[in-house]
Point group: C2
Chain length 372, copies 2
């Protein structure tokens, strides 16, 4: 198989799994956080810097790359890895989440989704087959089935119809996939916040036998305890010998809680997006760098951090850069935030190895200022 | 003296000087191009990257830093070098050029210039004494006298009054300078496009005995041949044992022509500004990366360049980044443009050493597409 999961151990304090995901572009230590490079670039970062902070895999977006610059151009360039100068693993989403988020600009039928481009209003159609064709052209290591992500809140009937369509589309994706020897197609479990529907979706999707599975439809506005509840009962239905990916999750608390419930892979735009708004994740909680309290604060962004930003620049300087709208502001805070989450995952893996992940959670939450 | 000039040789084909400028933060090989870091950051670059491309000295702006974050804050931070994490040489301008550029927002008197901030409209006053006080607080290695830069075109009488005021202000700057043992104050020769006025200004300013001299009031909209003419007769009046700085110049042709006429130091926002607009300086002329012709061009930005951008990314990718308004676009093109000009200065120094700068100019102009 193209992508395989190797389990190293399960934490004695929880269902957390320490493992490795082997891909055509290298092996990934899990649990892992994947920085998001929506438009074939992790915003404000070079791929060299991603390696410095030890990113092992990044995520890119099928919807965005299809519209611009176009998957055919990227195929001509030799694939997404070569185009963006990244020789480690890449996961691409299917574009489903993005087109569903277009609201009035899209129309869903059994065949697929008709939508208008957010860039120029032009009309497009993405079907399960098209989503796979695009991802085959991009050449990412892990590609995702085209699914329908129900909003929150949503009625039981709506979610049931939606998950059943997701199953039918998953089958079509599998049949359309042209490069199973080079790219691993992951299935996505839907079902909203309904236990019976999650179970139905898990059964149907796992029945199709994908090399990996994602939990979709979470982190869509529901309270965190609901997300944890869904994970709590869903992950035990997922095969132990395949990677488990929780889509769109990236706050430190959700990462830890997700790992505790058996998740291996995460992605989220949060660390890079808030960085550009001048907000840093640090070992002592959020630092909103524009705040006046940092005007004459010559300490590093995070005094406990060893990253390039924290070793070389002060909060006062970062605040100045932010106020002056300098590009270096986005760069330095993005670098720090991604380093922070990747380092957090490293600490999580260590805590699993030492069978103390629940203790680690308690310590981390106390320092970060979360309710314990 | 704080800053000294050491001449290595004069090119046998022209008045071009190969030399070294010794500063409290290291020795600079001249002729040199100084990247501009207006707001205590060379836009889109880290200081680590500036070292990678072998920048030896950068320029920063008194006017901007005075308004934001304030020179007192920077002094508290330990000076501009420490604040921005740059341990090589820094030159700061006096703020004169910026406040004069404010047009209706400023009022010039013998005492100084009253102006309104371009940020919030607040009222400020900068005198020669204030300009030096600010620069003393910033701690830059080379500080500039507060001068009046006449516009182009301007009447003889206007320019004469303006240069004479510049002389009186230069005297006041020298008297106000509190740290001559740590910071070298350079005088500025004005006089517009009038030979008699340039001579008068050169005599008056050089009489005041500064450790270095700048030619100001050029590159303000005049045709290039006028600039060359002024340099042609002005530099011979300047002492051979002091550095000579041509302010605000940074196109490849003007750099070469300036060196031929005996200039040692240059600065300009051009390479960084056009980079953010997607324009690259390359060995075969300008490349406007947004142009459709680069859509499927998988060559490097400059096939003859060895910089990080050119070694790792294609024109097609850079065009995509530019169209997608990604920060990485500004980063990669800025990196390349600064590398290009710094490398050009290296080639110029080599050509002086080999007594073939006029031949080099001919070869370079032909490749770049300038008229020879």
């Amino acid at each position: 198989m193209t992508v395989t999961y190797e389990n190293i151990k399960v934490c004695k304090q929880s269902g957390a799994r320490l493992g490795r995901v082997h891909t055509p572009h290298g092996t990934i230590d899990t649990p892992v956080f994947m920085p998001v490079g929506t438009q074939a670039t992790v915003k404000a970062m070079t791929t060299e810097e991603l390696k410095e902070i030890e990113a092992q895999i990044i995520l890119s977006n099928t919807y965005h790359l299809y519209l611009r610059p176009g998957h055919k151009l990227i195929e001509k360039a030799g694939g997404l890895h070569k185009f963006m100068n990244w020789d480690r693993a890449i996961l691409t989403d299917s574009g489903g989440f993005q087109v569903f988020s277009l609201g009035d600009l899209r129309k869903i039928t059994e065949e697929g989704v008709e939508f208008r481009s957010h860039l120029d209003g032009s009309k497009h159609f993405i079907s399960p087959e098209k989503a796979i064709e695009i991802q085959n052209a991009l050449g990412s290591d892990i590609i995702m089935a085209f699914d329908e992500c129900a909003p929150y809140p949503a009625e039981h009937t709506y979610v049931k119809n939606s998950l059943e369509r997701t199953t039918r589309w998953a089958k079509r994706c599998k049949e359309a996939h042209q490069k199973p020897d080079q790219q691993a197609l992951f299935g996505i479990i839907q079902g909203g916040m309904y236990k019976d529907l999650r179970e139905q979706s898990a059964n149907e999707i796992i029945e199709l036998d994908f090399p990996g599975y994602a939990v979709g439809g979470l982190s869509v506005g529901e309270p965190k305890h609901l997300m944890y509840e869904v994970l709590e009962y869903t992950t035990p239905w997922m095969p132990a010998n395949k990677p488990r990916y929780l889509m769109g999750v990236g706050t430190p608390d959700c990462l830890i809680e997700g790992v505790i419930r058996g998740i291996d892979m995460f992605d989220c735009v949060l660390p890079t997006r808030i960085a550009r708004n001048g907000t840093a994740m640090t070992s002592v909680g959020k630092v909103v760098i524009k705040n006046a309290q940092y005007t004459e604060d010559f300490l590093p962004l995070d005094p406990n951090c060893e990253c390039y930003t924290c070793k070389n620049y002060s909060r006062a300087y970062l605040r100045h850069l932010y106020k002056a709208q300098e590009i270096l502001s986005a760069r330095l805070v993005t670098y720090h935030n991604l380093h922070f989450l990747i380092d957090l995952m490293k600490q999580i893996r260590k805590a699993i190895m030492e069978d103390r992940l629940l203790d680690f959670r308690k310590e981390f939450f106390q320092k970060y200022g979360y309710e314990v």
